[in-house]
């Protein structure tokens, strides 16, 4: 599903590589936590999967895409098969909940009748039915993140990338969001989540890949955040 082979990434502005000879494989339907301190290379890892960056060395595969080698023209196809959720939600304040979700389909040219069918479905899945016409500012943080998850999932991606999705949320709300991500994972979607949240990682007992100074220092099938912490 996802495979990195001896991937290194060196940014022009830095002497130390952001990723240093990383080789990881993730299966379809896996739930993977990506942990490590700030600057350990988590974001670079995720950006490589989306082809926001190209690796300096090594190869990156997502599904059938040879991400590092593919032409720019095919990048949209890759991104259509990956959903993204961020710490800061990134919703459009001028659009309603339903419009925000529909936007993701409109801009990839999905027909109107598909959009009116699938948007309510996904809103129900994330537990926002009845709030379709609210604006993001009228929602709580947890609800806003649900909208963002709905938007990331509405096109049924193969992979869902979540970059600290609970970073701005209180522990209870975070727990709800994790339940939602778990539910999405059960549909067969691979979920890769970068996080600093010990409690979540420890309670979920899923695969943990730990990065430190750009290297994979730990890869546990059912891990916790930090040994002895």
């Amino acid at each position: 599903m996802i495979r990195l082979e001896h991937v290194s990434k060196v940014y022009k502005t830095s002497t130390r590589p952001a990723l240093d000879d990383v080789s990881v494989e993730m299966e379809k339907g896996e739930f993977v936590f990506l942990i490590g301190p700030s600057g350990s290379g988590k974001s670079t890892f995720l950006r490589l999967l989306l082809r926001e960056e190209v690796p300096t060395r090594g190869r990156v595969y997502v599904s059938n895409f040879d991400v590092a080698k593919m032409s720019r023209r095919r990048v949209p196809r890759l991104r259509q098969s990956i959903g993204c959720v961020f710490q800061d939600f990134r919703l459009l304040p001028t659009k309603t909940v339903a419009e925000n979700v529909a936007f993701a389909l409109e801009v990839i040219g999905k027909p109107r009748n598909t959009i009116v069918k699938v948007v309510p479905e996904v809103l129900q899945l994330v537990g926002l039915d009845g709030k379709e016409d609210r604006f993001p500012t009228e929602l709580s943080g947890g609800e806003q993140q649900r909208v963002a998850i709905a938007r990331a999932f509405v096109n049924r991606p193969l992979v869902l990338i979540a970059d600290e999705p609970t970073g701005n949320l209180d522990p209870d709300t975070s727990q709800d969001i994790m339940l939602l991500l778990e539910r999405i994972n059960r549909t067969g979607t691979t979920v890769i989540m970068a996080t600093h949240d010990h409690g979540i990682v420890d309670s979920m007992r899923r695969r943990v890949v730990e990065l430190s100074y750009g290297k994979v220092v730990r890869d546990d099938a059912r891990g916790v955040y930090g040994v002895g912490r």
Binding site: V75, P76, L92, A104
Partner: protein, 300 residues
């Protein structure tokens, strides 16, 4: 591609930077208006050249003495001059026009200006040989041969006069086109700037579009169309400006000249003929500028 989506984006985009959009439209309109004016002058010169071709004459004006005393050109030096003219190679016809006929002709030409006619006296009009040449360009032959001969007051070359007149018109055209070029440069910078501002204000949307896998065309097309729409509105404004300029200004100041047939009138048909070019230029320039800006300055 969902056109309704793209167009709603365009409308929001234009509304969001309304001041920039207006500046962009006005600059484009002025540039295109000047270009249109220049093209109208070109058309006018072409028409005049066609009108006058074959009609151009060299006039050999005779002295006051001859004009007063030899109405039928039977005496010397008039009759001698006539036969010399007729024998000059390249001369097609020679017509003698005495003072009275000249005065009649003058009255006919300036019918529209009675105040001018009131001032005119037949004594001011010399008797004239009107010489038509096989090649209207070769007027120097006549000038060199007859200027300064006894009985000849002057050799008047309509071609030379017209050439000066055309030079004046062409100068006007050049000024209009240079101004149009400078304005076009300003318009270009404004279009580029507006797109950059537009892209910046919409960076969140565009970021999401990129992330969910919208194609390059989908993310960039609204910006491009925005520029082109502004360009087209600019062209419409320019054409309207030309029509108003003709109706309220040009017609009034050139009425005398056009009625006496000196210069051809500029009609709405001329503006209609010129306007497709203005639209074409507007679309090409705004689309190209938009495209280059998106490629070079905006990371979408």
């Amino acid at each position: 591609m969902r056109t309704s989506f793209v167009f709603s984006e365009v409308v929001t985009g234009l509304r969001r930077n309304v001041t920039m959009t207006i500046a962009m439209i006005l600059t484009t309109a002025i540039s295109l208006g000047l270009l249109g004016g220049g093209l109208l002058v070109v058309r006018m010169v072409d028409k005049m050249q066609a009108n006058y071709a074959g009609k151009l004459e060299v006039s050999v004006l005779l002295t006051n003495d001859v004009s007063a005393n030899d109405k039928d050109c039977t005496q010397q030096p008039c009759s001698g001059l006539r036969s010399q003219l007729e024998q000059t190679s390249g001369v097609e016809t020679v017509v003698f026009q005495n003072r009275d006929e000249g005065f009649e002709r003058f009255k006919r030409i300036f019918e529209a200006q009675p105040e001018l006619l009131k001032l005119a006296r037949p004594e001011a009009i010399p008797a004239t040989f009107r010489v038509k040449l096989e090649d209207p360009e070769r007027t120097d032959v006549i000038r060199q041969a007859f200027e300064g001969k006894p009985g000849v007051k002057a050799v008047d070359d309509q071609g030379k006069f017209l050439e000066r007149f055309f030079e004046g018109l062409n100068g006007l055209r050049d000024v209009a086109l240079i101004l149009a070029l400078i304005q076009a440069f300003a318009a270009l910078l404004l279009i580029s700037n507006t797109i950059q501002v537009s892209a910046f204000t919409r960076r969140v949307e565009v970021g999401i579009m990129r992330l969910v896998g919208a194609t390059r065309w989908y993310t960039q097309l609204p910006f491009l169309i925005e520029a082109v729409v502004a360009g087209i509105i600019g062209a419409v404004t320019a054409v309207a400006g030309l029509v108003l300029f003709k109706a309220f200004f040009l017609d009034r100041i050139t009425r005398n000249l056009t009625e006496s047939g000196l210069i051809p009138p500029t009609g709405y048909l001329d503006i209609l003929f010129v306007s497709p070019w203005l639209f074409l230029v507007a679309i090409v320039i705004s689309a190209t500028t938009g495209y280059v800006t998106l490629r070079l300055y905006v990371r979408l």
